[in-house]
């Protein structure tokens, strides 16, 4: 085991993926010599050459269009979009092309080898255009998988699984904890399963569900609730699509209460989808309404970022309200 931060774990996963399969190719803006603006691709060009790790021109729709063609050819592209806020020029290539490639061709062609990595989320004083969590836009499009890791160990295993999954995967990296999240990471090659949630903490009174950087916040709220005698079950969804309905359902049947938290705005956020499904599955087991603790229905702010964020205090209040409903 080695001590790594989240970025180092991602770099390590890319290194292993490229070493174990010479079809794996990493590219994006500043990805080559510089190693990406966050250094996720450091040293990969030195090790694997300019053909397999390179800078592209500054053109997101081109990067993903190129990646789609490369994947259709049989290569395994890992394309980086520098910030998730800038993924929208590539929206058409993702939702109309990558997501539908296999379906529309009757499986004659597919882009299953494609992985798109992109840093997402707030808490970095990034303002409107360096803070967004756009996962819900993509969750509405069948054909994509969406994965969000919470720490270095998870990031490495989930990224390796994403690269090797035979479907196009959007891999959202929580940039707020890129360097802050440090932990033990096995040096060898390993994968963690996509589509499976993980229960981080067993509890009896209420289920708390989140993903990515929000896990830290939820765990903090759970610790506060513990002091008040409230026992929280903490679940990391890990994969947004396809999401693990069974694990969440079992948990809510046990606790009778659910809070879902994400940084993205409330309206149309993925918490709404989870709430609808869980009330359908668990209606007679629910002791209180399913609650959502999320960002506001505004663009992401700069100066009042702390107020905007669904922090541990907001979650703690929601826990008390739910338990005392």
């Amino acid at each position: 085991m080695a001590n790594m931060n989240l970025l180092q774990a991602i770099n390590n996963a890319l290194d292993i993926a490229m070493a174990s399969n010479d079809k794996v190719i990493c590219f994006g803006e500043d990805v080559g010599v510089f190693g990406g603006v966050f250094r996720a691709t450091s040293h990969l060009q030195e090790k694997y050459g300019r053909d397999r790790c390179f800078n592209t021109p500054l053109v997101e729709q081109g990067i993903i269009g190129f990646a789609n063609g490369l994947a259709a050819q049989g290569s395994v592209p890992v394309a980086e979009i520098q910030f998730a806020d800038y993924i929208f020029p590539a929206f058409d290539q993702i939702v109309n092309e990558a997501a539908k490639f296999r379906y529309r061709s009757g499986n004659l062609f597919n882009v299953g080898g494609l992985t798109i990595r992109t840093p997402y989320g707030g808490g970095i004083a990034g303002g409107l255009y360096h803070s967004q969590s756009p996962e819900a836009y993509f969750a509405h499009t069948p054909g994509l998988k969406i994965v969000v890791p919470r720490n270095p160990h998870q990031a490495k295993g989930l990224l390796l699984a994403s690269i090797r999954d035979p479907n196009p995967v959007l891999f959202f990296e929580p940039k707020r904890i890129y360097r802050a999240s440090v932990g033990e990471v096995p040096e060898e090659d390993y994968e963690l399963p996509l589509g499976q949630a993980e229960i981080l903490q067993e509890g009896e009174d209420i289920s708390l569900l989140a993903w990515g950087a929000q896990m830290e916040t939820v765990e903090k709220a759970a610790a506060m609730a513990q002091k008040e005698g409230i026992s929280c079950e903490v679940i990391d969804l890990r994969t947004i699509v396809p999401w693990d309905i069974e694990t969440v359902t079992r948990s809510v049947m046990k606790t009778g209460r659910l809070i879902v938290s994400h940084e993205a705005p409330l309206t149309g956020g993925f918490a709404g989808e989870i709430a609808a499904t869980i009330q359908e599955r668990c209606f007679l087991y629910l002791e209180s309404p399913i609650a959502r603790v999320t960002g506001l229905d505004t663009p992401f702010p700069l100066v009042l970022e702390k107020e905007y964020m669904p922090d541990h205090l907001k979650i703690f209040e929601a826990i008390k309200q739910s338990v005392n409903f």
Partner: protein, 392 residues
């Protein structure tokens, strides 16, 4: 490449039309080779193969438009007037070169041997359609013939072709990718992304623009202010050529040279074929609302099929009896294949949920089961599946 260092001391602007690109032409309309023109190497067998594919495409288009008008088909797109380009480019390629086309390139598929049955199965979306009845008519694809399944969003295939060709280069294949698009699609951001990336990354891709005058009703004069599409490639740092798209010999020769540059030098190339969309944009369009008959007649006089026929006659590789026999053999083939395709069943109900992912997730299986129960209750309301008939 460094930007040039030369400086000037008066503010002289470079005009938008500073680069005027001439059109490469080989054949006059009467089938004579223009004196001094560089002619492609084309033997009799290949010339006749090209011609047969062009005629097949013309006849297929006529019959299928008629079928659409009779209500047998929901939609159709003709390539009338552009057959020299759409067949000629394929004839200049190796069969293993990838084609990523737009939607008016059935001629290339016909040249590569897509059978009349395969065309019909797609057009009617039956159980033998490779696309499993998911896309509108004319969205063909064939893995065996290296022809990427057509996608409706415009120009998306252009950067994909750059990526595909990059993969071919890395794999060490002596092959290239050709992507085809109209002059309207060349306005999309995808076009610019694709050319710039191809030039920078030195990718063996050929960008073939069919400049056929119209994007639905928008004439090219309202599409761009530049001298067509060809000069743009020069701006991105790649070679570019403009050709007479109704002149099959010019198409074949230019594409042969483009392929050599792509495959041997990893140089991307742009080819702009000047032609005219003689028919409507699609069966849903009526060009009489935006252009006049005189203009169409002017282009009808430049019919690419007639031009090639004139040349073949002069070569003594063709005669009127063969011509008659060719048309007479294709028409019944098309009609019989159409009947057979129409009579086949719809794709199985499972085709609703397969291929979204490599395997249907549990949620999709559950949705299909719920649907099955519903269909069982109201079989008469769902004639395509007939309450179970299409369940395979």
């Amino acid at each position: 490449m460094d930007t040039q260092e030369r400086t000037i001391n008066t503010p002289d602007f470079t005009a938008g039309d500073a680069l005027q690109i001439a059109t490469y032409q080989v054949l006059a309309q009467d089938g004579t080779v223009i004196p001094g023109a560089v002619v492609p190497e084309l033997d009799e067998a290949q010339a006749l193969k090209i011609y047969r594919a062009m005629v097949f495409t013309r006849v297929l288009d006529e019959r299928m438009l008629a079928a659409q008008r009779q209500g047998r088909l929901s939609f159709y797109l003709q390539s009338t007037g552009e057959e020299a380009t759409t067949v000629g480019f394929a004839a200049a390629l190796d069969d293993s070169d990838m084609i990523m086309a737009q939607y008016r390139e059935q001629g290339a598929l016909a040249y590569r041997g897509f059978s009349v049955e395969q065309f019909m199965n797609q057009l009617f979306g039956n159980d033998l359609d490779y696309g499993k009845g998911r896309q509108m008519p004319i969205h063909y694809g064939s893995k065996d013939l290296h022809y990427m399944t057509i996608s409706s969003p415009l120009a998306t295939q252009i950067p994909q072709a750059t990526g595909y060709a990059y993969g071919q280069k890395l794999a060490g294949n002596k092959a290239c990718t050709v992507t085809v698009f109209g002059e309207g699609a060349a306005s999309e951001g995808d076009f610019h992304a694709a050319l710039n990336m191809a030039a920078v990354l030195k990718v063996p891709v050929i960008f073939l623009c069919r400049n056929n005058g119209y994007a639905i009703s928008t004439p090219s004069s309202e599409q761009f202010a530049s001298d067509g599409v060809a000069p743009r490639a020069v701006g991105y740092g790649m070679k570019s050529i403009r050709i007479d798209g109704n002149d099959v010999l010019a198409v074949v020769k230019a594409m042969q040279k483009a392929r050599k540059l792509a495959v041997e030098q990893n140089e991307p190339v742009l080819v702009e074929a000047m032609s005219y969309r003689l028919a409507a944009h699609s069966s849903s369009d009526d060009p009489s609302g935006y252009r006049n008959k005189a203009e169409e007649d002017k282009w009808r006089a430049k019919d690419p099929i007639l031009r090639m026929k004139n040349w073949l006659l002069k070569q003594a590789w063709w005669d009127e009896a063969q011509e008659k026999q060719l048309y007479e053999s294709i028409r019944p083939q098309v009609l019989e294949a159409m009947k057979r395709a129409q009579q086949r069943p719809s794709p199985p109900l499972e085709a609703l949920i397969t291929d979204v992912y490599d395997r249907p997730p549990a949620q999709l299986e559950a949705q299909l089961e719920a649907l099955r129960s519903h269909l069982d209750k109201y079989p008469e309301a769902y004639p395509k599946s007939a309450g179970g008939a299409a369940r395979g």
